[in-house]
């Protein structure tokens, strides 16, 4: 099941008393309440995480998952509030993709001290009071994008000079900053003659991403490549390349996956997608928490990895599932 059962009030009070003596010995229950909190509920990426989490609950009948998230990633304060409210409900475990690295620390530490199992995913939180952290190494993944871009240019015989446009979904978001940094550093290392135009920020709006890509192309005659650091920007970029039939002249690489990006990969508008494993984060996050409840010791950091997907490998079953985790929805 995936809806939260209500705890009777008495039990709540009983638990409140327990709270004064932290780190009780784990009592085994036949039903555990898990809270999964994502950064936002409005995008495919986070929906994939939730699919993973819910699947884990379906695979393991002892787990009941309730999902939470603010409407948009910009609502950092709202996410902290949600976490506080969740901690107050005393679930057995919390799996959280924290928007901020610091803001959630107090609430998480409090939960940890109450004996709640804490698994953080996607973004590192600055505390040791967690049981495990599962995430993509975004700097490394950004580097992979640069590597792939350079490889493709070489394969096409395009000389490594000219310009590469960088379209970023939003300013001031840590994972994007990491991706862009990974990409920029690696590209400078591999092809020092290439100039990076951007980043152009587009408020995570596809239409604005379209305009940004168009305008970069208009202003610069020698654009040989593009990098888009999430799916919204990838969609916008793919649109422009398709419309202008630049598949053969410009190498475009983007992050994440959604149906539009997959199509673009097929058509060659995007040469590669750097995929994280949101499903895996959700699924493994819940499973790790369960393991912790069973008394197992977990690794402090699990790199959920990033995968470079191209037209060539996109039809392998494992990659297909990575591209579209809804295929795995139970």
């Amino acid at each position: 099941g995936s809806k939260q059962a209500q705890q009777p009030a008495q039990q709540e009070q009983a638990q409140q008393q327990q709270q004064s003596q932290p780190q009780q010995e784990q009592q085994k229950k036949d039903k555990y309440e898990f809270a999964v909190i994502v950064k936002a509920t409005d995008s495919d990426f986070w929906q994939y995480v939730l699919i993973g989490a819910n699947n884990a609950a379906k695979d393991n009948p002892a787990i009941n998952v309730t999902t939470y998230g603010p409407p948009s990633e910009a609502d950092i304060d709202k996410q902290v509030s949600i976490l506080e409210n969740v901690v107050n409900q005393k679930p057995d475990a919390i799996v959280i993709a924290s928007t901020s690295s610091d803001a959630t620390v107090p609430a998480l530490e409090k939960a940890y001290d109450q004996g709640i199992k804490i698994i953080t995913i996607d973004n590192r939180v600055k505390t040791d009071k967690i049981h495990s952290f599962l995430a993509t190494d975004n700097i490394e993944a950004g580097g992979k994008a640069a590597q792939k871009l350079v490889d493709e240019l070489k394969a096409k015989g395009i000389p490594l000079k000219g310009k590469v446009g960088l379209i970023s979904a939003m300013a001031g978001v840590q994972v994007l900053i990491d991706r862009d940094k990974g990409f920029t550093d690696k590209l400078k290392e591999l092809a020092p003659d290439i100039e990076i135009i951007g980043p152009r920020y587009v408020d995570n709006d596809v239409l604005k991403a379209v305009s940004a890509a168009e305008n970069i192309l208009t202003a610069n005659k020698d654009v040989i490549g593009f990098f888009a650091d999430n799916n919204m920007t990838g969609d916008g970029l793919a649109r422009v390349i398709t419309e202008r039939k630049l598949q053969d002249k410009v190498v475009a690489v983007a992050f994440d996956s959604d149906p539009e990006e997959i199509k673009a990969l097929e058509s060659g508008a995007l040469k590669a997608l750097i995929l994280q494993d949101p499903y895996g984060m959700g699924y493994k996050g819940v499973m790790s928490a369960y393991d912790a409840l069973q008394g197992k010791t977990l690794e402090k950091y699990i790199n959920t990895g990033s995968t470079v997907v191209t037209k060539e490998n996109m039809n392998q079953q494992d990659i297909k599932e990575l591209l579209d985790p809804t295929l795995k929805k139970k």
Partner: protein, 321 residues
């Protein structure tokens, strides 16, 4: 009498002084950019420019109706997203043919406007609050019906529309021009248009003159929602996908376009042509900023400053009269 009395301009034959000012600002800017920015005055870029403006431009037309009636419509962005998502779902998951899907989506979107009208007229809820409510509610509805996921696999014919040209002009721009013509015709030549100004100027006097305020309010907010719905369809065609977050924040752009174009938030002032110039001014700035490679943050600061400056110049001009 309120603070804003001072911002009012002389309306002569439906044209306000402000329009003139902003048109001049726009033309000067345009001339400067043509000279100073390589690649600005090219067919390609101009076609980009008008296309980039079209979708927001259509929304701003409906917003002008609302603002002239002394109202405000914060729900336009959600209506854009809602109608687009609705059409996308009908076309894909329900397999309904594009034309029919579009019609249904336009109707559904327009009904949101009707709801606004009912809340505002019958419920006497101030427009800001009523449309803030529907904005929030319908963003939630979009998420619910789409499961917060992108909807893809739209029919080719539909997706191609945004790419095609009609008489050498981008099709989206043609839609905008059509809507401009219809809207300015309504504003300037029809009874409904006059009623909007009358309601914006003095609702009580309008009522005592036999104007049916209820019907007109329904029509005003319905028209705004219809424009947003059309913009929503244009957006889906352009992006080839139904995107759950699409349209978020568009209300501020639309309001800014109308006000830069001389509309007063106190009602009874504003015109379609002013709004069109206002919308063009904003997107021209963004376009030129990108072409010049101006630091995006500095560009943002400049755009903010220019929104204010446009109105400021108009004020200074009026004072010197």
């Amino acid at each position: 009498m309120s603070v804003n009395t001072k911002t009012k301009t002389t309306l002569i034959k439906g044209k306000s002084l402000s329009e003139g000012t902003i048109l001049i600002v726009f033309l000067v800017l345009f001339a400067l950019l043509s000279l100073a920015v390589d690649g600005f005055l090219t067919a390609n870029n101009l076609s980009n420019l008008v296309r980039q403006t079209s979708i927001n431009g259509v929304i701003a037309l409906g917003m002008t109706f609302v603002i002239v009636s002394a109202g405000i419509d914060l729900s336009v962005g959600s209506v854009v997203g809602f109608s687009g998502m609705f059409a996308a779902i009908l076309m894909t998951q329900a397999g309904i043919n594009p034309v029919f899907s579009i019609i249904m989506a336009l109707i559904a979107g327009t009904l949101v406007g009707l709801l606004n009208g009912i809340l505002i007229y019958d419920g006497k809820v101030p427009p800001f609050i009523a449309t803030l409510g529907t904005m929030t509610v319908f963003r939630g509805v979009i998420m619910l019906i789409s499961g917060a996921r992108m909807v893809s696999g739209l029919p080719e014919s539909f997706v191609n529309f945004a790419q095609t040209s009609i008489l050498g002009m981008p099709s989206l721009f043609v839609v905008w021009v059509l809507m401009i013509l219809i809207s300015s015709f309504i504003m300037a030549k029809t009874r409904f248009g006059r009623n909007i100004y009358a309601i914006g100027s003095n609702t009580e006097a309008a009522r005592l003159s036999g104007i049916n305020i209820r019907t007109n309010m329904y029509m005003i907010y319905g028209y705004s929602a219809l424009m947003s719905s059309i913009a929503g369809i244009m957006l889906v065609s352009r992006l080839a996908n139904g995107i759950p977050t699409a349209g978020g924040g568009y209300e501020l752009d639309a309001i800014a376009a109308a006000v830069i174009g001389g509309a007063s938030l106190n009602g009874a002032e504003g015109s379609i042509i002013g709004t069109v110039v206002g919308a063009m001014l904003m997107s021209t700035l963004r376009n030129a900023g990108d072409l010049l490679g101006i630091d995006p943050f500095i560009l943002q600061i400049l755009i903010g400053a220019l929104i204010v400056a446009a109105v400021l110049i108009d004020q200074v001009k009026k004072q010197n009269k």
